[in-house]
Subunit: 237 residues, 2 copies
DNA sequence: AGGACTTTGTGAACAGATGCACAAAGCGCT
DNA sequence: AGCGCTTTGTGCATCTGTTCACAAAGTCCT
């Protein structure tokens, strides 16, 4: 049923093999670094200054060997017999992930989900600043959300260039998603986070990550089914 | 930068090896089946009755060999020289994923995100019925959302048992998430979808999947950074 | 200083996922 | 029926990721 080491993060799909060679950091590791970062953050807040791979691994829900191998890809930042300096490790992971820069995010589609995203504080906390909200519905245009005014879809290109948007978040209905994506890409956006239930076609130079509720539920359903259909087997051994 | 075959889905973490042996279906395949299902659904709507692995693969954003291997895990449902019967394949995938059953879903935490989820129509469409909304804030209790009344956290156990909830969705702040999760698990929920930015500890018998915005953004940031720092290299090659 | 103890970093074995390439299988046309 | 065309299903090589297990490297105590 559940995983040996809790709900680990995912590497959404194998990145081009070339990219591996360039940074030396495996995709699977990249997907876990943010988790470590989060855990380290709360350790730091609790006043912990040093942490062992074992303790950190438990808190992050992964195996300690995996954790050490992950960290070894960034360099040798631990001290044998002691562990890792929390603050320094936070810095190194942040640097590796590129979080020392700031990123401007635009949200396209300000419906139910878009509103939730626009109001979410957790975004800004790691250097992601929401700089623009865009919607096609004239009734939504002009609305103020979290200090930002909703702009009309017609202004998409203007707004993106004006704010040098580097990440586009698509929260429109599926039917418009490809269209919106094309327009984002054509004005230079190279990273897209897609919430619409559709596979986006993009040039190789653009990264897309998707968040798909319905897929998550279906995966859970698959395992749920297995559990119930073999319920007898559990007791029997 | 982008993936060889578009934004593929993920296998969130290697499931216990045992589970593999039991169903014979690799986790990575399970994670892609919902995508195929979606694409097949829209093909069916457009009146297509038969589809080749190549066409389906393109639409699903994966390689055709991968797609065929995925489908081969469910059985031999294609016809050589012809392709797959769309309707029949939809049925087989649904059956495999366990979507012939219905699942009752409870959402805990009806804030920004919880509201969006509660209003989302895409849930019900695949046999996932939202049967309960629960919140700790007395001011939210009693509110009607999408035909459901928000219940108080105190009633969590009652509500879960009453509706035979099989999937719990956690949309509370991180601080309460583990607590809520423990309570869900203790009243028999074995599948959890977690939106709170925290690693949940659960017994082995419980499946957790997480959706974490901030992690997705950080992964995008990593690749974004690589792109900009090596911008020169692209032209030079 | 030296020895016991702790913990990192990593080589090597293993496991899982992907992609290639082709034989086997079916279709339709003559 | 036979032939050529299409497309599936899969064995095999490869690549990516995980896990084990231990030497190297440090700390702390005497
Ligand atoms: N709400 C959820 O919980 C949820 C869950 C999973 C997936 N999704 C997906 O997220 C997307 C948004 O969901 P939602 O519930 O917010 O839908 P919604 O209908 O509430 O909002 C969609 C918004 O997009 C706007 N829009 C439509 N076409 C547009 C365009 N071309 N450009 C810009 N804006 C446009 C609409 O005016 C509307 O404001 C959908 O694709 C949905 O399938 C939503
Ligand atoms: N809003 C977003 O776009 C977004 C994005 C990513 C992650 N998240 C995460 O999702 C979660 C919810 O986000 P949100 O924006 O909806 O927050 P929110 O503060 O708007 O809503 C949280 C809700 O949970 C309720 N709650 C608090 N403790 C509870 C408990 N013990 N049991 C039941 N209900 C409880 C609160 O009363 C509130 O209604 C948070 O963990 C957040 O980090 C949200």
């Amino acid at each position: 049923m559940s995983l040996p080491d809790s709900q680990g993060p995912d590497s959404q799909s194998p990145h081009s093999p070339l990219s591996r060679r360039r940074t030396g950091i495996p995709e699977a590791t990249v997907a876990r670094l943010p988790v470590y970062l989060r855990v380290l953050g709360s350790l730091a807040e609790s006043g912990v200054t040093t942490v062992s791979s074992d303790a950190l691994a438990v808190a992050a829900g992964v195996g300690s060997a995996k954790l050490r191998k992950d960290l070894s890809h960034l360099g040798s930042y631990g001290t044998r017999g002691v562990g890792y300096d929390v603050e320094y490790l936070v810095y190194q992971i942040s640097r590796t992930l590129g979080l020392t820069q700031h990123y401007s995010v635009a949200i396209i589609g300000v419906g139910n989900l878009g509103h939730a995203l626009a109001n979410y504080a957790g975004f800004a906390s790691r250097g992601f600043q929401i700089v623009a909200l865009v919607d096609a519905d004239p009734r939504r245009v002009g609305e103020q959300i979290n200090g930002l005014e909703v702009r009309h879809l017609d202004e998409l290109e203007t707004v993106v260039k004006e704010h040098e948007v580097s990440i586009g978040v698509i929260a429109t209905p599926a039917a418009s998603a490809q269209d919106v994506c094309d327009r984002l890409v054509s004005c230079g956006v190279t990273s897209v986070l897609n919430f619409a239930p559709i596979v986006l076609a993009v040039p190789d130079s653009v990264d897309v990550r998707k968040v798909d509720l319905s897929i998550e539920l279906q995966i859970l359903a698959f395992h749920e089914q297995r559990k119930s259909s073999h319920a007898s087997e559990v007791g029997a051994g």
